[in-house]
């Protein structure tokens, strides 16, 4: 690269001139030398994080556009804009300026929809990316901290989304804020004070939209930017993981060079993601605020739900059992609100800490750059699926009413079913997933040892029917055996000869994780299987 630059410089020309100018001022040649041919592994699942990143860029662009018109004020006005069925209605300036963006700015509604769709996509892509990282074990050493950074980004995404959802001050978002107010008031001791601080007095007040706006356009995006920078910086430091397979090791990285292939692919992909968001925003309505009317504490619309990423918390609120409120010594303890909050926070904490939990159980201090196939880590995969199912039930819990009407069921039955499912389904899915993973691993062993079933049945001279198994080549075999099994440990005494509680817990956890395991085929087994075949 550096020779190319200097050659170009000798030849002259605009490009070379620019390159020379930049190099002499910012040392661009050194940067290119270092990073220009850095290798990036290529796999479709490695692009999910990019989708989130690109949605965030689109959010910044479209959001800036919206700030030019939006006015975060809750002062009441009489609407006199272009939307007929609200003409003459009293509403806040925030809501009327949102209507103006939608109906009186060319491309305004388009940008509002771009902004809202990309917000939904940002959190969804980040979530899917987290699942990919989880199920492939990419969070293992040395990437535990980057997992936490990514987790923080996911939570910040939810915060950014919710603060944005509340800005138009329409009936839907106002009722959303009212729910938040109710939840805050339910916090023991400080609830009423916190609510008063947040809303600047009694709900709804005239402050909350302006305050959320400051958070939404300054603090939260700034934090997201900082965390994105840290996240990407760590990706550069660690270099990207790659999937297991022939030639892929912990001490190398296999893929395409940054320039030109990865720049073209990733750069092109930005335009594709932006294009998809634009296409959807051009053709599908999102959050038609004009249908909801301005916020008024008395009315409410059927189907009052938050955006999808808050849905699981709303679902948790719905699924809390009746009569969980207690008065103790004259003070009210609202367990019907606290329980869902505690469950939600506990779930998030477990997600954030998972890499450290698994790392402690395995005691594995090596660096891992080769990803696991999910089946080769059956317990982790099963835990992940159970977590996804738990989340999904909570999430579905936020749409009990729509499930009831669309599948012609009783709302009450749907809700009760969900309450039971929240406990039962994660356990069932854990067991099924673990068994499925172990079976798939055994199947892999079969294939390695005896070849792939060809579907061709032949009759041997002595009358026996057998199915012909096609042998695998060495690359295919290696793909199936390139993993490490772990074995459980027992609690053992430390230097003082004492078996600590810590050791006991770890031993129990290691048994939970690795009691059932299938180990990869060894060379000896493979040879034995081949000899056996030749005997036939």
């Amino acid at each position: 690269m550096s020779t190319a630059t200097s050659n170009a410089q000798k030849k002259g020309g605009f490009l070379a001139g620019t390159a020379n100018y930049l190099d002499e001022r910012v040392g661009v040649a050194g940067i290119l030398k270092e990073f220009g041919r850095k290798i990036f592994p290529d796999h479709w699942s490695f692009m999910l994080g990019e989708v989130a990143l690109y949605s965030f860029l689109v959010l910044l662009l479209s959001g800036t556009f919206l700030t030019f018109w939006f006015q975060p004020s809750m002062v009441p006005v009489i609407y006199d804009g272009a939307y007929g069925p609200l003409k003459g209605a009293e509403m806040s300036i925030a809501y009327s300026s949102t209507l103006d963006i939608s109906f009186e700015v060319r491309g305004g509604l388009l940008m509002r929809q771009v902004h809202h769709w990309s917000a939904l996509l940002f959190v969804a892509a980040a979530g899917l990316h987290m699942l990919r990282v989880f199920f492939t074990g990419a969070f293992r050493k040395p990437r535990e901290i980057n997992w936490v950074v990514g987790f923080a980004l996911f939570v910040l995404g939810m915060a950014g989304g919710f603060t944005g959802y509340s800005l138009p001050d329409d009936l839907l978002s106002g009722n959303g804020l009212r729910i938040i107010d109710g939840m805050i008031k339910g916090i023991p001791v400080i609830g009423a004070y916190t609510s008063s601080l947040l809303f600047g007095g009694e709900f709804p007040g005239e402050s909350i939209v302006g305050r959320l706006y400051s958070l939404h356009i300054m603090l939260i995006p700034a934090l997201i930017l900082v965390f994105v920078a840290i996240h990407l910086f760590m990706v550069v430091i660690h270099k990207h993981t790659h999937y297991s397979g022939p030639g892929k090791r912990d001490d190398n990285v296999v893929g395409y060079p940054l320039m030109p292939v990865y720049v073209a692919k990733a750069g092109g992909f930005f335009f594709i993601v932006f294009g998809v968001i634009m296409a959807v925003a051009a053709t599908f309505t999102i959050n038609p605020v004009w249908s909801y009317g301005g916020y008024d504490p008395s009315p409410v619309s059927a189907g009052t739900q938050p955006d999808w990423y808050i849905g699981w918390l709303d679902g948790a609120l719905r699924l809390a059992p009746t009569h969980l409120e207690f008065v103790i010594g004259g003070y009210t303890l609202s367990m019907n609100i606290l329980l869902p909050m505690v469950v939600g926070i506990a779930f998030l904490v477990v997600v954030a800490l998972y890499p450290f939990i698994e790392g402690w159980v395995t005691g594995d201090k090596r660096e891992h750059h080769v990803l696991d196939r999910p089946r080769n880590a059956p317990t982790r995969t099963a835990i992940g699926v159970a977590g996804v199912v738990f989340y999904a039930v909570l999430w579905a819990g936020a749409s009990t009413d729509l499930i009831a009407t669309h599948f012609k069921m009783s709302l009450n039955h749907v809700l009760t079913t969900m309450q039971i499912s929240l406990i039962v389904l994660p356990i069932v899915s854990y067991i099924i997933t673990k068994r499925a993973c172990l079976s798939l691993q055994r199947k892999d062993r079969e294939i390695v040892l005896h070849g792939r079933e060809s579907g061709r049945v032949v009759r041997l001279p002595h009358g026996e029917y057998i199915e012909v198994h096609e042998p695998m080549n060495e690359y295919e075999i290696y793909k199936l055996v390139d993993f490490k099994a772990y074995q459980p440990t027992l609690a053992r005494p430390n230097a003082k000869g004492v078996i600590t509680v810590r050791a006991r817990i770890r031993a129990r956890l290691s048994r939970f994780f690795f009691e059932d395991r299938v180990e990869p085929v060894t060379q000896a087994e493979l040879e034995a299987a081949h000899d056996h075949k030749e005997l036939h």
């Binding site: 003459g88 509604l109 955006d307 009450n412």
Partner: protein, 263 residues
Amino acid sequence: MNKRKINNARRSPFAAILVIAAGLLVAGGGYAGATAAVAHSTSGSYTQEQVDLGKKLFLSNCASCHGKNAEGTNYGPSLIGVGAASVDFQVGTGRMPGQASGPQLMKKPVQFKQDQIDALAAYVSSLAPGPSVPDEKYLATNGNTTRGGELFRINCAMCHNAVGAGGALTEGKFAPNLKGVEAKHIYEAMVTGPQNMPVFNDANLTPTDKKDIISYLKYIEANPSAGGEELGGLGPVAEGLFLWLFVLGGIVGITIWLGAKSN
């Protein structure tokens, strides 16, 4: 400034007179007749011929549940005093005659011609006064859509959703989608409160209020969302589902194309 103007209008003595007049009208009905909304009962506007035909139709189609004299049985409520509006709504939307039992009667293909429905309405309204079929002038869609929207959100949207897409009630009951429902039937539903829907008599929502609500509903029906396809008007759940299945699904499809090697 504008705001003050509105408040003045609200305080105007004319409004008070209107309200008192409405109140007097209702009070005239008295508590005995209070099971149904009162206002203008016009049982006399049907011909005897219609009443006779209606009775015949009633005996052969309705009496098995509602009783020979519409007095009600274990299988169906009394129809005395429900008025023509109720019959026109229930039969005109196909909910009656009911077929399968369930949490609530479903909309079905209409089983009678309009003149037969009118005859049934004539017969039922001849039994006792009740709300009549609404006057055409309240069914026009030139009402005040802003007022209509506001009243709709306060009185109706909690069950029927802000754009009338419908919503769930308890134990399998639901508030139906209002899209495509005839103005007349919307009016009649408000005035009679079919099944578990509450009654919105003329003292609560005046005929003009009802007209405004109908105008609002017809406005949003005639003007599809400015933003494009509406995803059923169901709000964030539908949007989230669409995003996961189609937008993110589509993008994942593209990533697979991106990651695949070219031939």
